[in-house]
Assembly symmetry: C2
Homo-oligomer: 360 residues x 2
């Protein structure tokens, strides 16, 4: 698969220009660019600039409002509900996370449920905003329904990711960012390109039978919750995805379950939607609301070193700590550039033509 | 396997008498009995009266303090750290959960991290305390290390369960209570008794190879994180177990990772423990800190009914909602009694002899 390398700066300038072209304010364009490109830096290629044209198409379809008035519509000292005014999730989620952080400064923790938003990129970007404030950050979002609960043929949940980021001292932060499915869509796309089968437990076919076809979603199949099947705990992955839906949408008044708006603008909106847009949930816990931050960080260092030094199974070099692989990607890509597949470069090229801006 | 039926009332009276005999106050004995037996009612047989003699042995070994002075040692409007004074987790966790609930009444949410505690029974019992207050309840605990992270031979985490309970309207509450492993120890014990193999992905042997031996833990093997192996997302189960450890112990100052005290009193304490006792994390979120409770509950009913009515795969009658199986157990067992295996009955019989009380 031919790939081309671009510097972070190149991609950031291009992306920001596109967001400005659809009408975002400079502030929003900066925020959205930073959120979107954090995915490319961290190696989550499915959620970065590869999606830029998808966001543009949502704007063209009037499903994304480029000039949202994002508002707190209800609050208590430790909670808020935010109405994203159909804005880019890339802008709405950082707004909501900032409120969570401010509340944590005041009363120890802050928890914000968001309605009327759109796809927010990677959860880690938002959760990690807490780190520089010596807080634990939490970010979740629901998403359009691609996942069949245990025993179900119907797709009832999205890949509904959960991220938890916790600061350490001399060690880098702990950052766990995971879809509540065995594998997310991005991994299927990699297998599709390589013409390979999926392991059992990733997808089922349209009748709910186990399948190894990475194209299963295109023929009525579904992604499976983390665990894969009942014997392997899929009811747990399903339960976790459900919790994300409840926190993100039932608490905020966003759409939930199979009614969450799809990302591709050509897919019609589900009928009889019970809420507004998609939902997120952001949380921040101030470490010293529990314990002096330096004590906590010292314990985190000890914890992390314990895992790094655990004895590995044959053939593996190291036990990883959540966040290690993504941080390694970020280091490499900041230095050497971000590789984009030809089809992504072509896609960005057509954006530059559409908006008559310099190509990458 | 011969089983004998006992009424809830019979088991509760017996259990309470034992807790009184080891020196608990009447209030603590009542609280502990209710927490312990909630496991038997909900069908989690591994966590109920089957463990009563285990708690007694911990008391005999002076690892459990029957007359703890449970204290808040740090707090903010939305957070607290509780020192359980080596008390029964069955008593310490409800104390901490009550504080979370009171804080949620005041500022919208309450979050309590607990140090210096012991095994707390099932997480659902504590999380569900929030329901009658129209709150979402969250309960987690760490536990002694039986679980090998992805790529590790060393056992670094406990089965570290997470429970989230959310109220509904006409439908029963949503209650997700899950160990962050593919399968918890209780399921291995069932297979041991039946002389059956485990599915692949539950355990590994002492060298980290895939195993199907339900006795693998006795020969140096380990439980596996939810997902089973890397291809099936075990790094996600590992990350979730790690989050439970961080919230329960790193935030509170309890022991973490391989240093968590073991439940069996004959297993020596890990050397160089970095904290105090085991750790829990309890949370409560007031629904109307986000949205009017009746609106939320109406949405929950709609959500639940959507899942119940999803099309099932061949051979399955119904898509279940988290909490359904346990509630069905509770209904049946309140009516027909709680079945105990002969070995559990014998175990309770020796307790009655030890404390010279009437046998069951």
């Amino acid at each position: 698969m031919p790939e081309q390398l671009f510097s972070y700066q190149q991609l950031a300038e291009f992306t920001k220009t596109i967001f400005l072209k659809i009408g975002c304010s400079t502030e929003h364009a900066n925020t959205a660019t930073k959120a979107l490109l954090s995915a490319d830096l961290r190696g989550v290629d499915s959620h970065g600039v590869a999606r830029l044209s998808g966001y543009v198409r949502l704007w063209e379809a009037r499903r994304v409002n480029a000039t949202p008035v994002i508002k707190v519509i209800h609050e208590t000292p430790s909670t808020a509900v935010v109405d994203g005014d159909s804005g880019l999730g890339l802008v709405v989620a950082p707004f909501a996370m900032q409120i969570a952080i401010e509340k944590a400064k005041q009363v120890g923790t802050g928890w914000v449920s968001v309605q009327n938003s759109n796809h927010f990129g990677i959860a880690a970007h938002h959760a990690m905003m807490a780190l520089e404030n010596d807080m634990i950050g939490i970010a979740m979002t629901n998403a359009s329904s691609l996942v069949a609960p245990t025993f179900s043929i119907d797709k009832m949940l999205g890949t509904n990711p959960i991220c938890v980021a916790a600061p350490a001292g001399t060690e880098p932060a702990f950052v766990a960012d995971l879809a509540t499915t065995t594998a997310a869509n991005g991994k299927l796309e990699i297998l599709q390109r390589k013409n390979m089968q999926t392991p059992t437990g990733w997808v089922q076919d349209k009748d709910g039978n186990a399948s190894n076809d990475p194209h299963a979603l295109k023929t009525g199949g579904a992604l499976l919750p983390l665990g894969g099947d009942k014997d392997h705990g899929s009811h747990k992955g399903y339960a976790l995805g459900a919790v994300v839906d409840i926190f993100s949408a039932l608490l905020s008044g966003a759409n939930y379950a199979p009614w969450v708006p799809p990302f591709p603008a050509y897919v019609p909106m589900p009928a009889q939607q019970p809420g507004k847009g998609i939902g997120h949930f952001l949380g921040a816990m101030r470490i010293d609301a529990f314990r002096p931050a330096d004590e906590f960080k010292k314990s985190m260092d000890h914890w992390i070193q314990g895992f790094r030094n655990a004895k590995t199974v044959a053939g593996e070099e190291k036990v990883l700590v959540p966040g290690d692989p993504e941080r390694e990607f970020e280091r490499e890509r900041m230095k050497d550039g971000i590789p984009l597949l030809k089809q992504v470069v072509d896609d960005l090229q057509s954006l530059s033509e559409k908006f008559q801006i310099a190509s990458l």
